[in-house]
Symmetry: C2
Subunit: 367 residues, 2 copies
């Protein structure tokens, strides 16, 4: 095999597929990138068996073939090359030479036949969404996927689609993030859970433009078709939370509050409550304002903010991190928070925007 192409184009492709390569594994082939020629293209593939990414670039193919190269080393070499053309050649003894200007590298390769084939996704369930929208939806929900493996299904996010509505939902036992978007495909009805790690990597590859991503769901895998790149991930199995039952529109107390002011106040209060120890931040909601306090052996803090109250005053306490996470990813100026009681979950929602909502459990306090 022999091909020649521009350094920056090759580097860009390597940066994309590298996200699916294993870094430390007992199987060295999973640390490789497979490169396969096809007419005047090469396809680069990374595959750690959970997640696979392939991308195709136009190059000058001088001799057809395929090679499997250690991903990290190859990426670092290409990154450090001076600008211009790079020539990659397989020579006898399974050595690949990488030549650019007066730089020449020789590195050993793995057997490309050992590289695991990406699963084929046979699907009659698909829909399209813009890259920008998908990136945003992931950003607004990914932070509340479960971090531990005690319930593996919650380490993923649910893709729930019906009646032309796409809901992306994550839950970690303390809170639920929900984001909704209308899609064109009105007939599709499905629920599937995609691993959080897959979505994190996809969000990094997606740029902010309005081009479409087409998403295909197969029996065990999902395929994100990003035009020149394809991302294939296994799906998680198990029963997701019936989250709809817990998002209620009823409230006994509702406040309207400036998001940034509330975020800054909670962040300050959190300095006193200091995360590790999970000391709550207390909210005292009165007719005129909200008083935010924290109290630990370090000291105390007290903040006062204006609110508009509907319903009854309330005292309630939260883990400040769980409030901060949601307040950071909302972009609207004003938010509503609905409360039922001091032991029931609260629901945070932007004032003029139904596409996002966030549910968070309070911490019980003694008064």
């Amino acid at each position: 095999m022999k091909f020649c192409c521009d350094k920056d184009i090759l580097l860009n492709a390597l940066n994309t597929v590298y996200r699916a390569c294993s870094s430390k594994t007992a199987k060295p082939i999973l640390e490789c990138i497979l490169i396969k020629s096809n007419a005047n293209f090469i396809t680069l593939t990374g595959n750690n068996l959970e997640l696979g990414i392939e991308t195709t670039i136009e190059v000058d193919v001088i001799e057809a073939g395929e090679i499997a190269l250690e991903a990290k080393l190859f990426l670092e070499i290409v990154r450090k090359l001076s600008n211009g053309d790079v020539e990659v050649t397989l020579i006898p003894s399974n050595i690949v030479t990488i030549i650019s200007g007066k730089s020449k590298f020789s590195v050993s390769t793995q057997n490309p036949k050992d590289f695991p084939t990406l699963p084929e996704v046979i699907s009659d369930k698909s829909f399209s969404i813009s890259k920008h929208d998908l990136k945003e939806m992931i950003r607004q929900t990914i932070f509340s996927v479960a971090q531990d493996d005690s319930r593996p299904i919650f380490t993923g996010e649910m893709f729930e689609i019906q009646n032309g509505s796409f809901n992306l939902v994550s839950v970690d036992g303390f809170r639920i993030s929900y984001r909704n978007l209308s899609i064109e495909n009105k007939d599709l009805k499905m629920e599937q859970v995609v691993p959080g790690k897959t979505l994190q990597e996809i969000a990094k590859i997606l740029n902010d433009d309005s081009e479409k991503v087409k998403i295909y769901f197969g029996e065990n895998h999902v395929l994100f078709d990003l035009d020149t790149s394809k991302v294939i991930s296994r799906l998680l199995e198990g029963e997701f939370l019936k989250y709809n039952q817990v998002f209620s529109n009823d409230f006994d107390t509702q406040i309207l509050i400036n998001r940034i002011d509330f975020l800054m106040s909670i962040e300050r209060a959190a300095l006193i409550s200091r995360e590790g120890k999970k000391t709550p931040v207390c909210l005292d909601i009165t007719d005129e304002n909200i008083i935010i306090t924290s109290n630990t052996e370090i000291g105390t803090s007290r903040e006062e903010l204006e609110i508009e109250l509907t319903g009854n005053p309330l005292k309630i306490a939260f883990n400040p991190k769980f409030l901060i996470d949601a307040l950071k990813i909302i972009e609207d100026e004003k938010i509503n928070i609905n409360f039922l009681s001091k032991i029931a979950p609260a629901i945070i929602q932007p004032l003029d925007n139904n596409s996002y909502k966030y549910l968070v459990l309070p911490i019980r306090i003694n008064e």
Copy 2:
């Protein structure tokens, strides 16, 4: 004690003195910042017993006094406050309140009498240098102070002054960085070694302007007077290397080479030699060019660069990191490298600039 001042001014002062506070220590008072009022000023002090920093800012002193506050917490609180005035008040039970807008913090304090006084530096040895020059000199030499404590004197940099010439020198057993600057004080003659950690912190405080820093050397301490801030550090005791004996002007081989090209080539070769294992990068200097090779179980690399050679061809090998460090901090386009033999140190110097030189030991190779 009670004072009021602008948040940003207070934050800036805290960021400066915080650099001298201990982070984890058996003596909680060393994790504190001492604040002392004086007319319409307050002086903030951090002191970890190796390094002390004090800075003075103009504030509205409402009640004179002094307090010792946990540095990290106080800094984080002030950083998160909204812009505007901050009021700091000592109330009974050794509690300090920090009030800004509708935010109020109460935190406990330490006894300010326990705070260690900064040593007084009585000195008849002093000189001045611009902030910009001092920052640059530290940047160009700090990377080769010894990282381990086996010879404590080499964890510092030597300030060597005579005949209006100031030399800053560091050495770690494998290489020597030397930087020179003319100073106005022609009568001063001295040699003192300042801890590397002190210089790192000073470099962070110094801005890039042409204002002067005045440096006073006492018997055991050095004082850097930065106008509104003072940095006091202990000096290191012991005998520094007689480095002048090893910087020779003799050479058997001299090359003139483009610095950036050489740096990029060595960085690429280092990918194959991979730091941890200390495999050398080999330089083969011929009449026309330099050939840079590395060869490990990962693979091989070969680079060719144009040079101008004076003297004899030579083959020599180096730890690539030791070349990269120096090539990065030089700013000139072209450099000279002088060699005596394949087992003698090489000396790197910018072509038209005698103020910087760098000596590095080769690695023995078998041919």
